[in-house]
Amino acid sequence: MSTETENEHEPLASDTQQVVVPEQYRKSAVPPAMKTIIELKGVTKTFVRGKEPLTVLDGLTLDVHEGAFEALMGPSGSGKSTLLNLIAGLDRPTSGSAKVAGNDLSTMSDGDLARFRSRHIGFIFQAYNLMPVLTALENVELPLLLTKLGSADRKKRAQTALRVVGLEDRMGHYPRQLSGGQEQRVAIARAIVNDPTIIVADEPTGDLDRKAADDILTLLTKLNQEFKKTILMVTHDPAAADRATATRHLNKGKLE
């Protein structure tokens, strides 16, 4: 993992309304976002369940530039989640190469993949997937338990992340005390607290009403524009796809 990009663990921001973007996140500090951060070549994914092998991805190629906000659409069962999982290092391609943030995922061990995810990937799920026994703040703190940060630093960073998503007044609430939109915002705070290189979101607005969905999309846009996060979002919702800077369609195992 020598080629990975350096990630400073700096607080994201201190204020929701007037987000003060730290120096390193400002546009001027980043070279024109043309670096390729996701590079898939001839990726095939075949599942074998029972006798019939099922080829879900079939020689797929994909380049995503750093700082992009891309939507991934396609019929149900077309392999969107499978593709997202490959990029996020949750699974390995059956063949082909997958390079993400400088790491060749197809050759990495399970342990290295886990460290890669912890360092580079922020996950947002359709079902929020918060731990019900932990408060919002503790949920956001979770990924930081894998870092060397002390508990005071962890708490400060988690608070900052919750402020970014506008939930500074809900830190001590448990998931069941929050609305769906708020839960998803906690999940987003959890996804960004580690300052990941890429955020992957699998139908993040799928369970939300229009208003809450729009808030989440606005938040994602903010993360993309102000914090320069590369975002890959699977969605069924054309309105959601409109908010992305590019949309790709997955069909028959290939991108169109």
Partner: protein, 389 residues
């Protein structure tokens, strides 16, 4: 690490009802375990605290058959024997309380007290008793139960020696060793002997002997029995410890059963804990998958499962021992010592048993969590995330 442990412990709060029921189930099992172990350890108190320099001599055929009184003189003459005394099982009952059982013994007080030196009696009472033909002494536990005090008149109804026998309470003894029954009723053998019909006089139940060198007790026992080999009544002599052990051996099967039951209880406890932990893990598969997605490693997940089990074990152990200890020592032990003191002169939880029970709770909980922990570490992250629910 502490953060991880905290999360593991937090998971117990997810389903309070289940956690409480599990803790109670495990605690009840632990209480039963502590009780059984206390029965077993208390049962062995007699052998454990048996005087090492004391021998007992009885009729070769049976404990209930009598020896001629003159045997005592032969025994006293055996080299190595320091003191010897005798006693008869009287089998008396309180006529007003025929269901109360306590040991009633006719003893030779002047030689009995020095041989049974764990019996503590103040000088005043001793002098009074030795000078009082109809005098008797009782253990403090029995005195309390029958509301007896020094100076009281007391009537015993004899079964082996029929009739109503009148006594005066001259003293109340206590015990310097746990093995001494504090519910005995002791009176003068001479008083009984004098009132017996001619044919039943001058027989004794058994002889207790002190030797100067405990390491020679086997040798001395053999010598004693040798004397009576050629006479019409033969004897068996053994150390008090061996006597206790042979008495206990009669109940060996029951003890083995108790022993096994105490182990079965632990197995049940293992299953209670294992069930709860496995259920929790199954329900949380998706959460574990999310943690894995975030970057947690399989050992972290195993740590969560085991950590939760350890906390569960500690709570169950604390509750179980916390209830068992005062219950057995305060309530049950007292009642048993009062009512069954011939069997259990001392019925208390040994500290080792209490500590062991606490440790066992934690070890069992951890053991119960091993397989669920291994499985939780092995889950397929993508499969678990795909599953809706």
């Amino acid at each position: 690490m502490s953060g991880l442990f905290l999360i593991a412990a937090r998971n117990l709060g997810r389903n309070w009802l289940r956690t409480i029921l599990t803790v109670l189930g495990a605690a009840v099992a632990l209480i039963a375990f502590v009780m059984l172990r206390t029965v077993l350890s208390s049962w062995e108190v007699g052998a454990e605290y048996a005087a090492k320099d004391r021998l007992g001599t009885r009729h070769k055929v049976s404990f209930i058959m009598q020896l001629p009184k003159r045997y005592i003189d032969d025994i006293r003459n055996v080299p190595g024997v320091k003191q010897a005394t005798w006693a008869n099982w009287f089998g008396g009952k309180d006529p007003g309380k025929p269901n109360e059982f306590f040991a009633t013994l006719a003893v030779d007080a002047p030689s009995f007290l020095p041989v049974m030196d764990e019996l503590v009696l103040d000088e005043e009472s001793k002098t009074r008793w030795l000078g009082d033909k109809k005098g008797a002494i009782v253990g403090d536990v029995l005195a309390k139960k029958l509301h007896l005090k020094v100076g009281d008149k007391y009537i015993l109804q004899g079964s082996i020696y029929p009739g109503d026998w009148e006594f005066q309470i001259d003293g109340i003894y206590t015990a310097a060793r746990k093995s001494l029954d504090r519910s005995q009723f002791l009176f003068h053998w001479q008083y009984m002997n004098d009132l017996l019909p001619e044919a039943r006089r001058d027989t004794i139940g058994w002889v207790m002997t002190r030797v100067d060198d405990p390491s020679k007790s086997a040798d001395i026992s053999a010598k004693v029995d040798k004397i009576f080999d050629e006479r019409d009544t033969q004897t068996v002599t053994m150390s008090e410890r061996n006597m206790q052990l042979s008495f206990m051996a009669m109940f060996g099967a029951i003890l083995t059963v108790l022993d096994i039951v105490s182990i079965i209880i632990l197995v049940i406890m293992l299953m209670i804990l294992g069930n709860t932990i496995a259920m929790g893990v199954r329900e949380r598969t998706r959460e574990y998958a999310v943690l894995r997605a975030i970057g947690f490693l399989p050992w972290h997940i195993r740590f969560f499962v085991l950590g939760e089990a350890v906390v569960l074990g500690i709570i169950a152990g604390a509750v179980g021992v916390g209830i068992a200890y005062p219950f057995v020592n305060g309530l049950m032990g007292k009642a048993i010592e009062e009512n069954m003191s011939a069997w259990f002169p001392y019925f208390r939880v040994e500290p080792q048993v209490a500590i062991a029970a606490g440790v066992i709770a934690v070890v069992l909980a951890t053991t119960a969590a091993l397989i669920p922990a291994i499985q939780a570490g092995r889950i397929s992250v993508t499969d678990a995330l795909r599953r809706v629910g």
